[in-house]
C-alpha cells in the first residue's frame, strides 16, 4: 500500500481494519462494552431528569421515591461499570495483541531478511521500529471502540433534540462539521512533524546503541564527553520536534474542549429566544441543554481519536517499510540432496557485489571432498566474501556454486546449515551460557559439546570459568579475551560435524602455540572438507592446496611449493613469515 497521495483518513482506516480483521472478537467485545456504556450514560441522564421532577421537586418529601431513585441510580451504575470493564479489558487486549502481531512480524522480518538489509540498517533504528514505532502505531486503537460507540450517542441525542425543536438540533449539528474542519486542519499540519518525531526517536536509539556497542573504544578514546554531546544533540532535536508537535496539540486540544461548551452557549441564546417567542417551552430548553451536555463526551473522544490518527499512521508506515521488503530466501523443500561424508565444492565464474561494487568477479575454484584448501590473498581481495557466499549469506550476481555437484539454489537452506559451517573472524557470542553458545539449539549431547570445546582448545579455560561450561558470557564483554571467544565460536562449528568447514581467519587472536594445537586437533578429529583463510605459514602448510585470490578472482591454484614460483604470492607469504617471526 503506497502511503503517498492517499488521505490520512484512508490510511488510518486501513490501519484500523488490519487490527480489526486480525482480532475481530476482542474489538467486537470492546464495542459491545462501549455501547453498553453509551446506553447507561443516556439512561443516567434520563433517570436524573425523572428523579429531579418526581422525587426532588415533588410536593412533599417522598422517602420511598428517594430510596427507589437511589437503587435505580446505583443499579444503572453497576451495569455501566460492567460495560466499562468489558470495553477496557477487550480494548487493551485488542491493542496489545495487535502490538504483539506487528512486533513479531517485524522481528521475524529482521531474521528472515538477507544480510544486505543488516549491512545497510542501523541496529538502533531497528530497535526503535520494534519498540517505539509499534507502540505508537497502535495508539489510535485505544479510543477506537469508544469513538465508534459514541456515534450512537450522537444519533440518540440528535433525535431527542430534534423532537424538542428542529432549530436546536441544527445548532448541535453544526458542532460536528466544526470538529471535522478543526481536526482536518490539525491532522494535515501534524502529519509531517509526527513522522519527524518518530524519526528522531529512531535517531536517539541509533546513537545510544552505537555508543554502548563501542563502549570499550569510547572509554579508551576518552570520548565520553563527546558521546554525551552527540546524545544531547540527538535528544535536543527530538525535544524540539516534540515541542513543535506539542504547540499544535496545545491549540487543538483546548479548541476541541471549547467546542461543545460554545455550542451549549449558542443553544441557550437561541433556545431562550425561542422560549421568549413562545415557539418552545422552558422544559424543552432544559431538556435540550441536558442532552447537549451529553454531546461533550463524543466530541472529546472523537477528537482524541483524530488526534492520535496521524501519529499512528506515520509510525505504522515506518514499520511497513521493513515488512514490505522482500525476503527473497529460498523456500525450504525438505528434500535431502547432499551425499553423506565430506562435500566437494565447485565454483564457476562467481560474481558477488555489495551495492554496485563487485567484490568477487569471476571466481572459479574446485575443491574435492575431504581436501583442505587454504585461501591466501591481501586485505580486501574478497576472501571473506567468498566464504560468506558459500555459507549462503550473499546473493549471487553471476555464476554458480555446487556442493558435491548439486546446484546451490536447489538445496534446502536447512541442509546447507547442517552441512556447511563458517567460523567468522569476529566471534559473536550471545549473552548466554558457553554450552548454549556452542550448541545453538542443535540439541547436541553435553559430551559432544565438551568434545567440540576440547578440539577448539577451549576445554581448559572453560572448565576454569566460575560455572564451567554453564557460565554465562557477555555479548562483547571482558569475561573472555578475543582469543577465547574465537575458540568458543570455533567449537560452535565443530559440534555440528560439518561436511564443509570454512575458517575465516578464525584463530587470528589465538596465540600461535594454541593455534597449532587447534590445527592438529582438527586434522585428528575431523573428516571434512576445509576451506581456510590463512595468514600463517603453519596454516598454509597444513593445506593440501592453496588458492591465491587477488582482485576478486582466483589467480593461481596449486600446492604451496608450486605457488612459490609466483612473485606476488612469494612476496605475500614471505611477508606473513616476516610478520609472524620478525
Amino acid at each position: 500500500m503506497s502511503a503517498a497521495g492517499d488521505g490520512l483518513a484512508r490510511r488510518g482506516y486501513r490501519l484500523i481494519m488490519r487490527s480489526v480483521r486480525a482480532h475481530p472478537l476482542a474489538h467486537t467485545a470492546a464495542l459491545i462494552g462501549a455501547l453498553g456504556f453509551v446506553a447507561t450514560t443516556v439512561g443516567t441522564a434520563w433517570l436524573l431528569g425523572w428523579i429531579t421532577d418526581n422525587v426532588i421537586i415533588a410536593e412533599e418529601a417522598d422517602r420511598t421515591g428517594a430510596g427507589v431513585a437511589a437503587a435505580l441510580l446505583i443499579g444503572v451504575s453497576v451495569v455501566s461499570g460492567i460495560s466499562v470493564l468489558m470495553r477496557r479489558w477487550f480494548l487493551a487486549m485488542a491493542e496489545l495483541r495487535t502490538q504483539r502481531d506487528w512486533r513479531r512480524a517485524l522481528l521475524h522480518r529482521y531474521i528472515d531478511l538477507p544480510m544486505d538489509f543488516h549491512r545497510e540498517r542501523d541496529p538502533g533504528e531497528l530497535l526503535a521500529h520494534a519498540d517505539a514505532d509499534v507502540n505508537t502505531a497502535t495508539m489510535v486503537l485505544k479510543p477506537l471502540a469508544f469513538a465508534v460507540s459514541v456515534v450512537v450517542l450522537v444519533i440518540v441525542t440528535m433525535g431527542a433534540l430534534f423532537a424538542a425543536h428542529p432549530l436546536l438540533a441544527l445548532i448541535a449539528a453544526v458542532v460536528f462539521p466544526a470538529l471535522a474542519v478543526i481536526s482536518r486542519f490539525y491532522t494535515r499540519r501534524i502529519e509531517a512533524p509526527s513522522a519527524e518525531v518518530q524519526r528522531r526517536v529512531g535517531e536517539v536509539s541509533e546513537v545510544a546503541h552505537e555508543s554502548f556497542d563501542g563502549a570499550v573504544v569510547v572509554k579508551t578514546l576518552g570520548r565520553e564527553p563527546i558521546e554525551v554531546e552527540r546524545m544531547r544533540a540527538a535528544s535536543e532535536r527530538l525535544r524540539d520536534e516534540r515541542i513543535r508537535v506539542g504547540r499544535m496539540r496545545a491549540t487543538f486540544e483546548p479548541a476541541i474542549d471549547a467546542l461543545p461548551t460554545m455550542g451549549a452557549v449558542f443553544l441557550l441564546l437561541v433556545g431562550a429566544w425561542l422560549v421568549g417567542r413562545g415557539s418552545a417551552t422552558p422544559g424543552d430548553l432544559v431538556l435540550a441543554a441536558t442532552l447537549f451536555s451529553l454531546l461533550a463526551l463524543p466530541l472529546f473522544i472523537v477528537g482524541f481519536f483524530l488526534e492520535e490518527m496521524p501519529r499512528s499512521v506515520v509510525s505504522l508506515e515506518r514499520v511497513d517499510r521493513v515488512l514490505q521488503r522482500p525476503v527473497g530466501a529460498a523456500a525450504p523443500t525438505g528434500a535431502r540432496l547432499l551425499p553423506e561424508g565430506p562435500l566437494g565444492l565447485g565454483i564457476e565464474d562467481l560474481a558477488v557485489g555489495y551495492g554496485s561494487r563487485l567484490v568477487l568477479d569471476g571466481v572459479s575454484l574446485q575443491v574435492r571432498a575431504g581436501e583442505t584448501v587454504a585461501l591466501v590473498g591481501a586485505t580486501g581481495s574478497g576472501k571473506s566474501t567468498l566464504l560468506e557466499t558459500v555459507a549462503g549469506l550473499n546473493d549471487i550476481a553471476r555464476g554458480s556454486i555446487r556442493l558435491s555437484g548439486v546446484q546451490f539454489d536447489r538445496i534446502d537452506p536447512a541442509e546447507i546449515h547442517d552441512a556447511v559451517a563458517l567460523v567468522f573472524q569476529e566471534a559473536f557470542l550471545f549473552a548466554d551460557s558457553v554450552v548454549e553458545n556452542v550448541d545453538l539449539q542443535t540439541g547436541s549431547a553435553p559430551a559432544d559439546v565438551a568434545a567440540a570445546l576440547e578440539s577448539a582448545a577451549a576445554g581448559g579455560f572453560v572448565d576454569g570459568l566460575a560455572d564451567g561450561p554453564a557460565t554465562v558470557v557477555g555479548e562483547r564483554g571482558v569475561t573472555l579475551s578475543g582469543g577465547q571467544r574465537q575458540r568458543v565460536a570455533l567449537a560452535r562449528a565443530l559440534v555440528r560435524s560439518p561436511r564443509l568447514l570454512m575458517l575465516d581467519d578464525a584463530t587470528s587472536a589465538v596465540d600461535p602455540v594454541v593455534e597449532s594445537e587447534i590445527l592438529a586437533n582438527l586434522r585428528r578429529d575431523l573428516d571434512t572438507t576445509v576451506l581456510v583463510v590463512a595468514h600463517r605459514i603453519s596454516t598454509i602448510e597444513l593445506a593440501d592446496r592453496v588458492a591465491y585470490l587477488a582482485g576478486g578472482r582466483i589467480v593461481a591454484d596449486g600446492t604451496h611449493d608450486e605457488l612459490l614460483a609466483l612473485d606476488d604470492y612469494r612476496s605475500l607469504v614471505s611477508a606473513y613469515e616476516q610478520a609472524a617471526a620478525g
Binding site: V84, D122, A128, D131, K219, P254, E475, A509, P512, A575
Partner: protein, 631 residues
Amino acid sequence: MSETPDIDLGRTRPSEAPAGARSAPDRAGIGEDLDGAATEPVKALRVLRRGIAMSPELRRGVPAIAAVGLFAAVGRLIVPVMVQLVLDHGVLGADGYQPGVVWTLSLAALAAVLVVAAASRFALIRLVRMAESVLLGLRVRAFEHIHRLSLAAHSESRRGVLVARVTSDIEAMALFMQWGAYSWTINPVLILATLAVMLFYSWQLTLLVSVLHLLLLPFLRWIQRRQIAAHSRVRDRVADTMGHTSEAVSAAAVIRAYGYRGAMRARLDRAVDRQYETQLSAFKWWAFMLPVVDLVSSVALAAAIVAGVTWSDELGIGAGGLVAFVFLVRLLIRPISEIGEVFDNTQAALAAWWKVMGVLDTPVEVVEPAPDEARELPDGPLPVEVRGVDFSYRAGEPVLRGVDVAIPADADVAVVGETGSGKTTFARLLARLADPSSGDVIIGGVDLRAVAPDARRRGIRMVPQDGFLFAATIEDNIRYGRPGATEADAAAAVEALGLQRWMEGLPAGMHTPVGQRGGRLSVGERQLVALARAQVADPGLLLLDEATSAVDPETEEALAVAMAHLSQGRTTVSVAHRLSTAERADLVLVFDDGRIVEQGRHDELVEAGGAYARLHESWVGNTRRAAPTGR
C-alpha cells in the same frame, strides 16, 4: 539482585576521590540494577521525591503551570455554572424570559470559554516545554552515567537493555507527560473548587459526599501498589525484548550461517509474548479501577439525593438547592474519573522513572578526582610504576595478584603470557579502565587516580582488541583520536604510519564510509584505522592490546616500520602475541596466572631458560618451520 535505591547520588560525587577510591571499592552488586529485575517494591512517593531532587528542570516550570492550571480549572467550573444560571434566572425564573440576563450571562460564559482555552493553551505549551527538558536532562544523565560505568558492568548488561533505559523507559515517561501530567495539574483543583461551592449549599451533604469518596483512598492505594509493580515488570520485559532484538540484529551473520533462525525466532516470540502477557496483566488494574471509582461516585450521588430529600428541613436545603447540589456532584464526577483514567499512565511513568534511577544509582567504580584536586601529567614519555597491584572483576577470582613493576620513560615493553594470564587486564589498569582492588598505579610520578580526566585522555592512549569504528568516514574515525584534530592531522597520521597506499586503494580514500561498527572494512583494516587514531593522539604512554592481531601481514610490514616511529618519544606497552614484538622490546614482562613471573630483555630471558624460553621455543616452532624460498 540488590537494587541500591538508598544511595544518595550526591554522596557518590567525585569529592571522595582520590582518597575514597584508594580503598578497595565494594564491588558487590554493581551493575546488577541494569539488567536484573528489581526485587524491592517500587515506592511511588520515594520515586517522586528522588525524581524531583534529580531533575532541577522539574521545579523551574511548576509554579507557572500550577497557576495557569488553577485558572483553567476555575474557568472550567464557571462555564457549566453559568449555563445553569442562564436557565435559572434568564429563562425559568419568576419573571420568565429575560433577554438582558441571557445575553449578559451568555457572553460572559463565552468569554470564559475563550479565556480558558487560551489559558489551557499557554499551560500546555509550558508543560510540554518543561516535560521535554526534564526528559532530555534525564536521558542525557542516564546515558552519561552508563558510559561512566566499568567495563564489567557493560559486559554484563545486554546492549538492548541499556538502550531501553535511555529510550523506551524515557518514552514511557513522555507518554505520561503528554496525557497524564495535565490532568494532574487541573483536576485536583477542579475537585477542591467544586467541593468549596458545594459547601455553600450544605456542609453536611458535602461532608457525606466527601467521606464516601474518601473511602476510595485505601482502594486506590491498594490498586496503585499493584499497578506500579505490574508496570515495573512491564519495563523489565520491554527491556528484555529489546535485549533479544539487539542480539538478533547484531548476530545477523551468525544466525544466518548457523541456521539459527528458527531458534532465534522462537526466542524473540517468547520475549514478545512475555511482554504481552505482563502488559495485559498490568492493564487489568486499569480496566478494573474506573468502574469502581464511578460506582462510588454514583453511590455518593444517590446518598446525597436520599439524604437531601429525607432531611431537607433539617439541612435547610430546598428543592432548588438540592437540584443545584446534584448538579455539582455530577460535575465532581468528571475530574475524579479523569484522574482515574490517568492513574495507570502515572504508575507506568513512575515505574519507568524508577528504572532510569536504577541506572543513575549504579555506583561508578572509576571515580574521577575533584577538579581542584586533579593533577596534570608531565609532557613527553611517561614512566610507569605499578606497586603491589591486585585486581579482580566483581566478586570473581583475582585476575592480577601482587604485580610490581617499574617501566622507565620511553621504554618499549612487551607483555606476554598465555590467554587468561592477566595481560590485557594489566594494560587496562594502566589506561584506568578500572582501578586496582589494592595497590597503586603511578604514571609520570602521579597516582593515576588523581590524574585529571582530560590529562589522562591526552597523555595515555590504549588501542583495544575490539576494532570498533563509528559509522562515519575513515577520516572522522581517525580524527576522533584527539578532540580538535583536523583533516590535515588525520592525513599526517596516515602518512606517518605508511598507510597512504592502502588508503588510496579504497573507493573514496579517507572519505570512505566504514559502516556500522566499521563493518564495511575488514577486521585488519579496522585495526589500521585504530592505529592511525592513536597516532593522532600523540600520547606519552601508548598501550597496545593485541592491536595488530588481524592486520594483514603485507600491511603490517609497512606498519612495523611506522610502529617504530609511533613508539618513539613515548613509553609503549604492547600486549603481544607475536614474537617480533617481544624480541624488539626493551623489557619483556611474562605473566602467568595473574603474576609477573619473569622480566627482562628477550635474550636474557631466553638464556635463563624459564617460562619465556619455553614460550619462545614453541612460537619459533610454530612460525618458522619453513622459510619460504626466494628471499
